[in-house]
Structures are given as C-alpha cells and as structure tokens.
Symmetry: C2
Subunit: 361 residues, 2 copies
Amino acid sequence: MTQLVNSADSHVVEPLDLWQQRLPKHLRDRAPRIEEVGGKWTFVVEGLPPRNMGGAGDAKSKNKQATGFRPGGSDPDLRAQDLDEDGVWGEVLYPTIALFGFMIPDAELRWATARAYNDWLAETFTAASKRFAGAAMIPVQEIDAAVEEIERVARLGMRSVMLPMQAPDAQPYNTDRYDPVWAAAQAHGMPVSFHVGTGANPVHERGPGGAVINYVEVGLGAQRTLAYLAASGVLERFPELHVVMVECGAGWLSWLMERMDEAFEEHAGWVKPKLAEPPSFYVRRQGHVTFGNDGAGVVNRELTGIEPLLWASDYPHPEGTWPHTQETLTRIFAGVDERERRLITIDNTARLYGLEPPAAG
Amino acid sequence: MTQLVNSADSHVVEPLDLWQQRLPKHLRDRAPRIEEVGGKWTFVVEGLPPRNMGGAGDAKSKNKQATGFRPGGSDPDLRAQDLDEDGVWGEVLYPTIALFGFMIPDAELRWATARAYNDWLAETFTAASKRFAGAAMIPVQEIDAAVEEIERVARLGMRSVMLPMQAPDAQPYNTDRYDPVWAAAQAHGMPVSFHVGTGANPVHERGPGGAVINYVEVGLGAQRTLAYLAASGVLERFPELHVVMVECGAGWLSWLMERMDEAFEEHAGWVKPKLAEPPSFYVRRQGHVTFGNDGAGVVNRELTGIEPLLWASDYPHPEGTWPHTQETLTRIFAGVDERERRLITIDNTARLYGLEPPAAG
C-alpha cells in the first residue's frame, strides 16, 4: 500500500443554500450564494462584483454537481472516497464561496456569514472524521469579535484559523492592533493561515494577460504578507505562533528569506524593530507555505529548510492535483530523499494540524 | 590570473551639480540634486519627498567622497581601479539620483533631466571605455519623445535603455501604447531594463519592519512587471526584444515561470491573448534578472534555464559585492560547473550588451 499523504490546502464547496439556511432570518435575502447567471455559475456576495467561478465550466455539465465541482466538496463520505483513490489521507479545509466573505462591507452580515460557515464546516467535516482539519474563517475588521470567534471555534474542535491575506481597512499586519488575534491563536495552538485572493479583489487586471497576471498577483500578496509578519516582529513576539501562506506556491520562499536578510543587514540603519535574529530565522521557525504542482519549492529546500514546506492537493479546485496526485508527487520529488519527502507531504502538516495518517501496511 | 567577470547591474553616482550644470538655464534652479540636509546627504527631486540616501552614512565621513559613495561612482579611471582589484571587467551602468527622475511630474523638467543624464553618462563613461555599457534613462509618459530619445542615445553609442519598473499614469505595460518603444529598442538591439524602485515611491511602508518590507516590495514589482510583459504577449510580438529586471534577485524566477504557466493552462478559459507557447517560454527566451549575493537564483537554474541569469555587483552601492566579489562568487557558485558559472557571470551579459572581457592569461 502506498503511504497516504496529507494535503495542507484543500477546499470544501459550500452548499448553494448554506447561508440562506443558516443566517439569522432578517439577513437571509442578503446571503452569499452561488447562482446561475447566463448559464454560468457565479459567486454573488453582497458588496462585491459578481464573479464567474473558477473552473466551474458549464452550469449544465452532467459530470459535476450543480456548483460545477466534485460532490466531495460538500459531502464528507464522497470526499473520503475521492481522497482514498488518490492516495491522500488528511486535509486542511478551506472554503470556496466564503473566501470572498472577508470583504463583505456590512459588519453584521460579514460576521453572521463567518459564523454560519464555521458552524457548517465543524458539523459537516471536522465532526465527521479526524482526517479533516477545518480552518475557521476569522474576519479581522473588529478585533474583539475576532478573538471571540477564535475562542468559539476552538471549542467547536477547529484546528486552525484563516485570516484575510490582505489586511482590511489600511491596517496592515505589522501594526499591533492584531496582537490579541495572534495571542489567541497561539494560546490554542492554532496555525493562522492566509489564503491567496482573500481580503482584496483578486481580479485587478482586466487587460491583456489578466488571467495570468492576477494569478501571479495573489501570489505576490503571500510574499508581502509573510514579509510583514516576519520583518515587523510579530513572529518574534509570538514565538509559538505558526503562519501558513496558502495556495501561493513555495518557489519564492528562498528569495524572500534572502531578500529580507539582505535588507536587514545592509540597511541596518533604517531597520526597526531590531529583531534578535535576521527575518529568515523566524520564517524558518514559524512560517509555512503550501504548494501543489510546482517543483521550485522542493528545489529550494536547502535554502528554506524543510519545515516551512507543506504539500497540498487543492482538491477539488481545477488547479489541484486530483486525481493525479501520485504522478505529481513522483514528478516533483524526483531525486529527493524519502525522509524529506515524508516531512513535506505528511509530517510537517501532521505536526501543525494533528493529522496523523495510518502507517503504510 | 583570475577570469574577469561582468556585472549586469552597477551604478554611477552623478556629480552633485550635474543637472545644475547641464539643464537649460531656465530649469537649473529646479535641478535634481544631492544636498546635505541636517548632516545627511539627501536626494532632492522636484515633486517627490526628499529622500535620505541609501548607505551614504554621515555627510562628514572622511573615507568617501561628498556623496558618501566611492569616487569611482563618477570617475571612470578610479572606477576601473576598483573593478580591477575586485576582478570585475565590464559593467552595465545605472544611475543613482536619476533613478528617481522618472517620477518628476513636469514633462519639460523630466525630459531635460533624462537627456542631461544620458549625455553625461555617454560622455563620461561609455566614451571612456568599452568596459562600460550605459543604460539610458527613458521616461515613457510621452511615447513619441521616448522613441526619439531611444534613437538619439543609440547614436550616442548607448547599448541599453532603462524604463521605469512601475509604468506611469495607470497605463501598465500590457497595453499596446508602448509598442513603438519596444519596436525601437528591438530595432537597435538594445535590451530594455527595469530597475527596482523606479517609477513609484519605493518607500510605501513606514511602520514596523518598513525598511525590510520596502526592499521586498520593490522586488515584487520586478515579478509583476515581468509577468505583464510575458503574459500580455509583448515578448511574443517582439521576439528579438530582451527585457532585464534589475537588482531584484533571481530566486523568484522559477516560481514566476511555474505560476504563469499554471494559470495559462488551468485557467485557459479566461486567458487572453492565447500565446502560442506558455508564458515561461518567452521569459526563458527573452527575459533576464540580475542578482548579486543571493544563492537562490543559481539553485533554480535547471528550472529557469541559464540564459535569464545575470550576475551583478551593484558597485558602489552598499548592497553590492565590492570589494568581496570573489568570495561572493565562490560562495554562490559552490558546486556549479564552470561552464554554467561562466555563462551567468560573463557570457550572458557579454552577448546582451557587447561586453567581452579579455581572456584569462
């Protein structure tokens, strides 16, 4: 039997009516939803432009469920079958529609959306199997409410929290306003993750090359956010906090570490705060990135260290490796020793999220 | 004798009074300059906030010239001595003060500043020795004037042109308004380079970690600009055009190639234009990045190919390798075969800029 691996970034696909069912009654007609618009499945989230769904294809397709994704997106049993066939055991679960919920302008609707999602995720997936580690959605426009929701989802058994990649309201993550959030996550041993494309409109270039440029741009957001957390001293001040940049690839991490350290040393006269160690030290100790298809992260492992690297399938999204995970792993780990491959595909994620796959037998 | 290498990114340091001497008389009191402000050397450029100079240190320092940099910054003979001692032969020359000239709001002053810089660079360095390949400063707010200046500097013997990394006036480089510029550079066989920190204020984060974050951010700008040029079809439409991202490090390039290709394939339904090849093909063929101290670019060479990689000293700036170039090369090329090392440190730059060092004897 092949040794099963963990995916540090997979997605649920929320039922079409999740928020229409679960929001307080007076908010239901403003619920985030997926709607068929002109034959295409479309995200409809209050305050945001309607968004054609990535990879959903034709709404009439017979091979996919109504949303255009595999039914395992919302059914834990069907999901487990897909994973078993693909050689994946544990998964850290991120949303699909709710990725856009961080930007709902109205605070009441935003918080109700987050809580309803977290409840559904806990009931449907994290309660169904220890294979599923949920990342709860935590908006951070209101810090007290964020801390309260972290406490609540910890009680629900969630093992991680997800903040928006782009911090809200021109209050970047290097300011101390987020300290209560870091403290709460650290206290519960919950990794804090940042998924690409959250907290800002991921479509900002509509001209030639836009689809490619935007996919690059959200990856730049991951590099930026990790730099903010490392250079500002957040990771130094919260030494047990782990931060995870999600769906950004890993090939840039060695560059970021060297770039930060070069500035830290060569521009020392301007550097504040004076960290006890260069920024890369904190990234190596507490930072992580998820990657799926790309070989560059693996090639750079001697520079980055192994611990930051988390392999991920992105199931059931179209960029993901399902149902070809084994071929992908063979390709990107060619020439890599078994111990390192095991850390990147199993143990690093197991340690962060409590996802221990059964031993190969 | 050690084989001398080429530096694809070095800097001149403009004389304090360059523009006060060379601008048309009615513009001289608005000249860009370096001034002592409160004991610190400061860039003063019309329309921009005054900027404390990188690495200049104390204006009273006895070991540096008035600007705080080595005198080789403005004297070609003293420069040649410094290079000889450090084992560097040819250099592609970028400015120091004029890096900020792209953002001068007034068109007349901006163009006069660019032309005066280009004249001074051609007379002082590129006429003095074939070791020095000048990158002429070409603002692109006005396309006709840009093309005219490219033609003019080609007649002056300049071997390259420099455009701002951040395109002006919300007119990004994926629009066809720049086609005459690409065509002119291609016609003269001039690589078009983009130096980090140009075209936008490089200081955009002043909070905790700002010095490190800003140094990262300008590097993200290089990734973005290369994505715009590749994904939009500029490199496909101008197949003899070479573009060079300068002082951004090289470790991110493998990631960018994989990231662009993933979007190109997985989001094919949204991709316009449909390039004949995936974006990485054009980067491998026509894109280049300069790096100095960082090992990540070399580690990734099997993914990026060798041709995009250009080693650079950044002399005489404080981030540079002078006077420790040989130790740096030994470190970053450990385990790399001699043929590849020679391409990255000599031949790739020689081919692009006509910089052929004498053979080791």
